[in-house]
């Protein structure tokens, strides 16, 4: 990989600029009507660079990244599968890019048709009654879901229900979301096999229970086998079931959250439906609901009247939890998900769950053959699985983080490390269905090589990576001596 690239401001020269990209100078008269006291007096610190310098700088920066297009990226719980180029190309047709969010429905029937059909397809693959597309990420979808649960209880005058139950292995966003919705979090344990501790659940539910947030397959990479019983316990206590769609890829086309008894779900379209992760976003966290929560869905939603599509508003859904984005969520991401789903079709949808599961179980088998210890040896892997390196940490003083960093030298992005928190020294590995057997074989080989290196010259592993643009970074210094913006030499 490339190494150091200067900060763009270090290329800057006063008076240089990508002038062909600018409009022609309208002269000072153009802004003479803006009063002096409202004007800016000092120019902002933006670089003054030419077009080629800009292109070269950002292209070089891109080359410092691992990505799906360049590397195997088995980041557990993130579903880093191939993002088809067609989805990007056809979502970026000029008519779609140029469409104003507040433009009339008469000039949006093509876009609205895509959104309506996306809603319908998502309903079908999840078994829910209705879908709203506007939440802009998984955590945003979680927020919408829990806000709907609260609104539902309130609408019935059931004001005491403010507790959200989450398993201890849940994503951090679950408890954080419950707090954002003004709820109190109650964590419950899981048993040694990775299923929810049913007795603890029974003890936790009661008249204050608003609902439970579950991921299934769970963050432990196994299917919650007693899900019907869980649903029955929570429903009997008057609570609702929230499905965190983080792991929907595992079961796509095989089993549906609606059939498991969930009342509300969010789907990470950037995971299961392969829209780009974009270096951290944009995601899309569409929500689906059963009949009870349908009146509370966030707006806007696309409706159909005869052959015409239109936006549903507060008039159609007076009990809606409201608007969660300025316009229509991450509309362009939704278009990409729509295109992906049309390309997969009915059978392709089922193959996703099948081959994601096949790849995970195959890679787990390979790693077991090479002596790695699964966290849940008695269980099938779902689309991902956990290995624990606690033995390596204890006997060789080589940690999960060291393995993760050394994998980078082998050209593999590291799996998720130290999550879920309850498995010590863990790697959460999710290969996804789009990876070939060859890649999985090579990954297992690399893991075995690192293992023997850890046994013979552990320092190579504990000081990894060696081939990246930087070595391990001083995170303590980063947090203590805050350097969050570049400053010209004169000021720094």
């Amino acid at each position: 990989m490339r190494s150091h690239e200067k900060v763009i401001f270090e290329y800057s020269h006063p008076g240089r600029g990508a002038t062909d990209q600018w409009p022609s100078d309208p002269g000072p008269a153009a802004t003479a009507d803006i009063p002096a006291k409202l004007r800016r007096t000092q120019a902002p610190l933006l670089p003054e660079v030419g077009e080629l310098e800009t292109v070269r700088h950002f292209t070089r920066l891109s080359q410092l990244n691992f990505s799906i297009d360049t590397h195997f990226y088995p980041l557990g719980s993130c579903t880093m599968k191939y993002n088809p180029k067609a989805c990007n190309q056809y979502a970026m047709l000029p008519e779609f890019l140029g469409r104003h969010p507040l433009g009339p429905e008469s000039h949006g029937q093509g876009f609205l048709a895509c959104m309506y059909e996306l809603q319908e397809m998502l309903k079908e693959v999840t078994g829910m009654q209705a879908v709203a597309l506007s939440p802009m990420a998984g955590a945003h979808g979680e927020f919408a879901g829990v806000a709907m649960i609260r609104a539902y209880h309130r609408s019935r005058g059931d004001l005491a229900r403010n507790e959200i139950i989450v398993p201890e292995a849940a994503h951090g966003t679950n408890p954080a979301t419950a707090t954002m919705c003004g709820c109190v979090v109650r964590e419950i344990p899981v048993n040694a096999d990775g299923d929810i501790d049913i007795d603890a659940l029974k003890a936790a539910v009661g008249p204050n229970t608003a609902g439970i947030m579950l991921t299934n397959p769970s963050t432990l990479g196994v299917f919650e086998r007693r899900i019907q019983e869980v649903a029955q316990i929570v429903h009997s206590a008057g609570g609702l079931l929230y499905y965190d769609g983080a792991n929907l890829n595992a079961i796509l086309g095989k089993v549906r959250p609606g059939d498991m008894g969930f009342d509300v779900i969010h789907m990470n379209l950037h995971k299961t439906f392969s829209t780009p992760h974009g270096g951290g976003g944009p995601g899309a966290g569409a929500v689906g609901v059963g009949a009870r929560l349908q009146p509370f869905l966030p707006l806007p939603i696309v409706g159909r009247q005869g052959e015409r599509y239109r936006w549903l508003t507060e008039t159609d859904l007076p009990q809606s939890i409201g608007r969660l984005s300025a316009f229509m969520g991450n509309a362009g991401v939704l278009l990409r998900a729509y295109i992906y789903m049309r390309m997969l079709g009915r059978e392709g949808m089922q193959r996703v769950g099948e081959y994601a599961t096949l790849n995970a179980n195959y890679l787990l088998a390979l790693l077991r053959e090479r002596g790695f210890e699964p966290a849940y040896p008695a269980r099938r892997a779902s689309h991902e699985f956990i290995i624990t390196l606690k033995k390596q940490a204890r006997e060789l003083e080589v940690t999960a983080m060291d393995f993760a960093k050394r994998l980078l030298d082998h050209g593999f992005h590291a799996p998720t490390t130290y999550f879920p928190l309850l498995v010590p020294e863990c790697l959460l590995i999710e290969p996804t269905e789009t990876e070939s057997k060859d890649i999985l074989d090579a990954f297992a080989t690399a893991m075995a090589q690192i293992q023997s290196e850890a046994e013979q010259e552990s320092e190579r592993v504990t000081s990894a990576p060696h081939t990246m643009p930087v070595r391990r970074l001083d995170d303590v210094r980063a947090a203590k001596q805050l350097d969050l913006t570049w400053k010209p030499i004169a000021q720094s």
């Binding site: 600018w22 691992f66 067609a86 966003t173 919705c181 939890i321 229509m328 195959y362």
Partner: protein
């Protein structure tokens, strides 16, 4: 198989390694009663050629009308290099830079973004972006309540000159935690916050005041006086700004004597296409003293084991994956790709190009409004300075006029009657540097015809 590379021989070998007879066996822990029987509601697959035809047809239906709508989403020229680089797989298909050593490109880019957006808003620190401008206002309100040590209240003053959708999102998002948003009216005829409306809050415990500049009507608020009024009463100021305007207008960090406390807005004008409303990104900057109350990802520069410069996510103790229920927000992503586009856009523009863009957009809108208000039955709604957007009043209902214009391929602006019924037949219009004199002429001519023909019809009916 779509996007799955396995050959039958691969599958056979893999199953043998696992020790199961079929893929189906791998699902044997799922109760049989729950298994999917059919997905009849999903259509059959399309190949790339077929889906290309379908999408091209859908796009053709929507067409490419001449658009004079702004209202929080602005059509600016986007240099070709912006999306050519942004859609490179190394940016497009990477994720949150958890493995810093393998994500230096994204991390350094965020650091450069933080620098640019902090400077543009005149603030000290920036996060790596949030969902959009509306959600940024919601997050800023929550942050202000956490940050304001002088206030024990959860009351936020929000003038009705703030984007109506932003106000709705703030209530829907932060209302669940008990925040109360109290609306302040604007001066009729002026379209800016009425100073008299603030008087009733003298002596009350308020956490923050939201000020949008330019406001939803395009009008410029007296930001210095408003900021000083708030600060004198221990109220924090949340600035909501259009980033393009900041090439010309005073940065929030310079508002009043002490400057705004938090600045947010939608970054869409910085190289992000209109795209039916998203994905955009919300930017958020603040004073250094409040950085630990800020939600979202933040990148810092540090050194590696060899003492070389490197970049990493920092101050993560604020975030949900560490703090869980006590985090500053549940946000777990940023709008990375859009922030990437904006950073490339700001680099290509530089201070001079951005100023020219702002000035040209402003000049075009003035030309448009001047020409429109010369027409019979059209007048300006408000007196006073604006930036690149303005409200005009028609002498008849707006909806039929807009729909007649739309049938001629012109989107004439946003009707305001749903949001501000008291304004009457009000229309919010915007032109940017993308509109030529000929575009403006054709809008004006079309509106003239539509209004005339409506009058003729009325005349006949009378």
């Amino acid at each position: 198989m779509a996007f799955i590379p396995h050959t039958p021989a691969d599958v056979e070998a893999m199953l043998a390694t696992i020790g199961v007879p079929s893929i189906e066996t791998l699902f044997d822990e799922i109760p049989a009663a729950l298994r999917v029987k059919s997905l009849a509601g999903v259509p059959e697959e399309l190949n790339e050629m077929e889906v290309g035809r379908l999408m091209s047809e859908r796009a053709r239906i929507d067409g490419r009308p001449l658009c004079f709508i702004g209202a929080g989403a602005y059509e600016h020229h986007i240099p070709a290099a912006v999306w050519a680089i942004t859609t490179r797989g190394e940016f497009y298909s990477a994720y949150t830079p958890y493995q810093a050593e393998a994500s230096q490109g994204t991390l350094q880019l965020i650091y450069e973004y933080q620098t640019m957006i902090a400077s543009l808003t005149g603030m000290q620190v920036s996060n790596a972006s949030v969902y959009d401008g509306a959600s940024a206002v919601a997050e800023a309100s929550l942050m202000a309540v956490r940050s304001n040590r002088k206030s024990k209240s959860q009351r936020i003053l929000v003038p009705t000159t703030v984007h109506p959708h932003y106000r709705k999102v703030a209530v829907a998002t932060a209302g669940n935690q008990g925040l109360r948003f109290e609306e302040i009216p604007y001066s009729p005829g002026e379209g800016v916050i009425a100073p008299t409306a603030l008087a009733q809050y003298e002596g009350e415990d308020i956490a923050a005041l939201v000020i949008q500049q330019p406001n939803f009507f395009g009008r410029l608020e007296d930001v210095d006086a408003l900021t000083d009024w708030a600060h004198a009463r221990g109220i924090l100021v949340i600035a909501v700004v259009n980033p393009t305007s900041l090439a010309l207008l005073k940065a929030p960090g310079s508002w009043g004597t002490k400057g705004a406390d938090i600045a947010v807005g939608d970054g869409q004008p910085l190289g992000v296409p209109l795209s039916s409303g998203g994905p955009y990104f919300g930017f958020m900057t603040t004073r250094l003293e409040f950085v630990r109350q800020m939600p979202g990802r933040i990148v810092g520069r540090t050194v590696d084991l060899n003492g070389h410069q490197g970049f990493t996510l920092t101050l993560q103790a604020r975030e949900q994956h560490i703090r869980r229920a006590k985090a500053t927000s549940n946000i777990c992503t940023n709008q990375g790709l859009l922030m990437t586009a904006a950073t490339i856009y700001m680099s290509l523009m530089g201070p001079q190009g951005l100023e020219r863009t702002a000035a040209a957009a402003h000049a075009r809108t003035r030309e448009l409004v001047t020409a429109l208000t010369r027409l019979k039955g059209v007048r300006a709604a408000f007196q006073g300075p604006v930036f690149h957007e303005s409200v005009v009043l028609l002498d008849r209902p707006v909806a039929p006029v807009l729909s007649a214009l739309a049938s001629r391929g012109i989107l004439g602006g946003l009707e305001l009657s749903e949001y501000y019924p008291e304004l009457g037949h009000a229309l919010l219009v915007c032109a940017t540097e993308t509109k030529t004199a000929a575009d403006i002429e054709s809008y004006v001519a079309a509106l003239n015809e539509v209004m005339q023909s409506a009058r003729t019809t009325e005349g006949r009916a009378a």
